[in-house]
């Protein structure tokens, strides 16, 4: 069949791969090779120092530079990142939040240097702080100034960068944090309302522009393995958004009320055990967000099959891109109108989701909206509860996961070697080289220009002016991300979000739990005081869901838990462990910076003569786990260790062995 005989087809969604690592140079090469393979948009992953506003040589950046994404500290990095990629032809999604205004400023400045005007730029800045407080953890500023920065960007881009999506309301990370579909819908809508209300309240956004503003709000959804329900979720959100635009914001043009969303398929549900099975999961999840034309995503990024093992290689990402291309070009999916219209079953499910989500949304609005429900920890507590329930269901086998808690017998996988060759390793030199580039950049810039630009930024923000124009000027002047963020930190302060770990206790304790609880008590008697554990996250990785679950579980088996939260330096962990008199330390690191950070903590303890056993959890390749064990770490847990009760039992073993009272 040639093109002439093929039926008319819909235009496919934008194909993207969330990627970036090591350096702007290496990431630019990766982007260009991905585009050459048929990828139609870019999705930039920034490293954690870039996301949290620290220069690569800041103490908190240690071990994190170039790990989970590309370091972009200044205009030179951004120019290199998009070298030979004409920005007027690109559709770029940037996963950036607290420092979104800065990265967008760098992008605009880079475009200007390419000779491309800002109004030609297409793409998205994620810029959703609510979900950062709830789940992802790369927030910097308190809610109030964060909402101001978001609304600044919306107000600015609606005029100056009209094809840009300044905010991408994320329900993706809510699902990762445990949200049920109903919670995902309700909290995403509450979040969008918070943004829209903030923009609506501005003097510089006339009421007649509000429909355009409404149309610029896009979403970022998760697609889980229950793909039928996910289809219904997409349809429910499409309808709710349309109604919200019409009823709350008076948007009369239905085109401006279209629910536009991008998707990252659920990475959290990917398994470390029998990782080849993940390909099947990814295919089904991709189908969930493309199947129903009415609720089809606008852009899709698929994870790689081996993400639970470590960073994917270019070949792994290519495999995922091919899934999208086969779905869009080989199958007949795009030849039909909506396939589910008229299905009573789907209709009923959509109604059920809408009704329950509306009730939950009303609850959040009644307590003052999404910002209030972050500050009083309501949403966080609900998420931690859902997540705890989910993990218990996995532990008990009630929720089957093939290869993990059922059908675990397996042949050795030919895709996974023994030597960790099946993942990408970031060159250890990347951090050092990035710092060298940063220093060279600082040396060549004009200090007077930088100082003036920072002063201009400070003054504009204190006077309530829009953050964008002075940020673009700062980008051209050679300001660094750390300097930009420090200026804002001084004005706005920093924030710690509530953790939600006060969540309700387990009401039923099965036999295994009771056994561990009894052992915890007995251990405390031997030690002379109750078993005390420190749980925290070193480095800049803010994905605190795992650490929070460990903290809640430890409390539920009777331990006294000092929960230290996120973004801790090794020095803080050592001081905390010492001052609190804990018997054991549990650290969680998902950003891949485990070697540097854990070894630093061990060294710090050594220095003050502290001997406290340590256990680690994270996405840690076996080779690294071996290094960590050799350095003295007692246990290393990875995503395949889902049985929290067993982990707690082993923590007791570790404490008893170390105290020599076992």
């Amino acid at each position: 069949m040639n093109d002439a005989t093929r039926p008319e087809r819909d235009r496919p969604w934008v194909f993207r791969t969330y990627s970036g690592h090591s350096s702007a140079e290496a990431s630019n090469a990766l982007y260009r090779s991905n585009l050459a393979k048929g990828q139609t948009g870019l999705s930039v992953a920034f490293d954690l120092p870039t996301q949290t506003g620290y220069d690569s040589d800041h103490p908190l950046a240690r071990g994190e530079v170039g790990k989970v994404g590309v370091p972009v500290g200044h205009i030179d990095d951004m120019e290199v990142l998009f070298r030979e990629i004409p920005l007027d032809q690109m559709n770029t999604s940037m996963t950036i939040n607290a420092t979104a205004a800065w990265l967008l400023a760098l992008y605009v400045a880079t475009a200007e240097r390419q000779g491309v005007a800002a109004d030609q730029l297409r793409g998205t800045t994620q810029n959703d702080l609510i979900k950062e407080y709830l789940s992802r953890g790369t927030y910097v500023f308190p809610p109030e100034p964060s909402m101001r920065l978001i609304s600044d960007m919306v107000a600015h881009s609606v005029n100056a960068i009209p094809k840009w999506n300044p905010v991408n309301i994320c329900s993706y990370h809510l699902q990762e944090a445990g949200a049920t579909p109903v919670q995902e819908i309700a909290y995403a809508m509450a979040n969008a309302i918070a943004v829209l209300d903030a923009v609506k309240a501005r003097d510089d956004v006339p009421d007649d522009v509000l429909p355009e503003v409404f149309a610029r709000i896009s979403f970022f959804l998760n697609a889980g393995i229950r793909f039928v329900e996910e289809i219904c979720k997409g349809r429910a959100m499409t309808e709710l958004w349309d109604e919200l635009g019409r009823d709350r914001y008076g948007v009369t043009d239905p085109k401006l009320r279209r629910f536009r969303y991008g998707v990252q398929v659920n990475s959290l549900g990917l398994t470390e055990a029998q990782p080849e099975n993940n390909v099947i999961r990814i295919v089904l999840e991709a189908l969930g967000v493309t199947f129903s034309k009415k609720a089809r995503c606008r852009a899709l990024q698929l994870p790689a099959w081996n993400e639970a093992l470590g960073l994917p290689r270019p070949w792994d990402q290519q495999w995922s891109l091919r899934i999208q291309q086969i779905l869009a070009y080989e199958t007949d999916l795009l030849e039909y109108p909506d396939l589910l219209d008229g299905s009573h079953v789907v209709e009923a499910k959509v109604e059920e989701l809408k009704k329950a989500a509306q009730e939950e949304l009303d609850r959040v609005l009644a307590m003052g909206g999404a910002v209030a429900a972050v500050e009083n920890a309501y949403m966080k507590q609900r998420l931690v509860e859902s997540h705890t329930a989910r993990l218990r269901a996995i532990e008990s086998g009630e929720l089957p996961i093939v290869g993990v808690n059922s059908y675990t017998e397996t042949e050795p996988s030919p895709l996974v070697g023994d030597d960790d060759a099946s993942i990408l390793k970031v060159d250890d030199a990347a951090e050092r080289e990035q710092i060298e580039r940063l220093n060279a950049f600082r040396a060549k810039r004009n200090d007077a220009d930088v100082k003036a630009a920072l002063q201009g930024l400070h003054d504009a923000l204190s006077n309530g002016e829009n953050v964008m124009p002075p940020s673009v000027r700062a980008a051209h002047a050679g300001v660094t991300g750390g300097e930009w963020a420090d200026t804002l930190r001084k004005l706005f302060g920093e924030y710690r979000a509530p953790t939600g770990v006060v969540a309700r206790e387990a009401q039923v304790a099965d036999e295994a739990n009771q056994q561990v609880r009894a052992r915890v008590v007995a251990c405390g008697e031997k030690l002379g005081r109750p078993l005390k554990i420190l749980v925290g996250k070193p480095g800049l990785d803010g994905h605190s869901n795992g650490a929070e679950q460990i903290a809640v579980k430890a409390r539920d088996v009777g331990m006294e838990v000092v929960y230290d939260g996120i973004r801790l330096t090794p020095g803080e962990i050592v001081q905390s462990a010492q001052d609190e008199g804990v018997h054991v330390i549990g650290l969680s690191i998902l950003s891949g910076s485990h070697l540097v950070l854990v070894l630093d903590v061990l060294e710090g303890m050594n220095k003050v003569g502290l001997e406290i056993p340590m256990v680690i959890g994270g996405i840690i390749p076996e080779e690294d786990a071996k290094t960590l064990r050799e350095a003295g770490v007692k246990r290393v847990y990875t995503p395949k260790d889902f049985d929290l009760t067993r982990i707690m039992g082993e923590v007791v073993d570790v404490v008893l062995a170390s105290a020599g009272v076992g």
Partner: protein
């Protein structure tokens, strides 16, 4: 080793603080003997001296840890070293506890001038006051200021009042009307009242006015009328006034008043410890409240911890005598 540890603490050796706190938490007999020795040695010096002690109490969600964070920042800016005890409730069912205050007090992270120890209240084991008192005694030897933060539920405000020189009650705007404050008994104990989250505006002011009216009604001993301060820990509003209020209370106490207050706290803690261990029966058999009052008044024994042990042995002896007599 006990004496040595005490000497190190009195010499303000920070590295001695954690081991000392671990020791006084240890319930094994040999540890308890050693702990009593350390505490007795410390109390000789710090019962009437040592750090200034400030307590923060209030309902859950009133913003105590945020206020604590702001206060730590403030006091550190005056170069004062700080020891903090943050108490969180334990689970009644599992005995476990989530201690999350440390995370909220970021100003102390990696600052050797701030020492934070989180404690589980261990309600079902009883004796929070005793454990907290031991911790305060240790911290009072090694730092300039000791801050004690607890969730105020019923009796615990009273227990904290016995531990500190100045008790700050943190009220939430709209937490209730005057009658509810009176019912909760919180109008008698605090020396300073903070209405937190002053950024809530009118609601906070109304709560503050209710409380001011309440203190005007009397019910308290002494001339000090607790100031009601509106504070927003978020933007720093009212922190100057809070500092002035804390200083004002300290000055109003005078040296003699401070001694009286600390002695009263010590006496209350000895009495409670003995009652908890031996019950009113044990005390009566030994000689009753009058005898206890006389012994407490005895100047030769400044250490409450040592006195509790001494009196405990006497009571045990008295109990044995009654059991063996026909």
């Amino acid at each position: 080793m006990g004496r040595d540890l005490a000497a190190r603490l009195l010499a303000r050796d920070r590295a001695a603080v954690a081991p000392a706190l671990n020791l006084v938490d240890d319930h094994r007999p040999e540890a308890r003997r050693e702990a009593t020795a350390v505490l007795a040695a410390l109390e000789e010096k710090v019962l009437f001296g040592g750090a200034r002690r400030i307590g923060l109490t209030g309902a859950p969600g009133a913003g105590k840890s945020t206020l604590l964070d702001a206060l730590v920042r403030r006091l550190r800016s005056h170069d004062q070293t700080l020891g903090v005890v943050a108490v969180d409730p334990s689970s009644q069912r599992t005995g476990g506890a989530l201690l999350g205050d440390r995370m909220r007090v970021r100003s102390g992270a990696a600052d050797p001038g701030v020492f934070i120890r989180s404690m589980a209240a261990r309600e079902r084991l009883g004796g929070l006051a005793e454990a907290a008192r031991a911790s305060v005694t240790i911290l009072a030897a090694a730092f300039d200021v000791v801050l004690v933060e607890t969730v105020g539920v019923g009796q615990s405000e009273g227990e904290v009042a016995d531990l500190v020189d100045t008790l700050v009650y943190v009220a939430q705007p709209g937490a209730g009307d005057l009658v509810q404050f009176m019912k909760a008994g919180i109008l008698e104990l605090p020396d300073v009242v903070v209405v937190n989250k002053a950024d809530l505006g009118l609601l906070a002011e109304r709560t503050a006015n209710e409380l001011k009216a309440g203190f005007g009604l009397g019910e308290r001993n002494g001339a000090w009328e607790p100031p009601v301060v509106l504070v927003s820990a978020r933007d720093g509003t009212g922190l100057d006034e809070l500092e002035t209020a804390l200083q004002g209370h300290l000055e109003s106490l005078t040296a003699e008043g401070l001694q009286t207050r600390r002695r009263r706290g010590r006496d209350a803690s000895v009495r409670k410890s003995l009652e908890r261990r031996y019950g009113s029966h044990g005390l009566t058999v030994w000689g009753g409240q009058a005898k206890l009052a006389a012994r407490l008044a005895d100047e030769r024994d400044p250490s409450g911890f040592a006195l509790t042990e001494t009196l405990g042995r006497e009571i045990e002896a008295a109990l044995r005598t009654t059991e063996t007599s026909p």
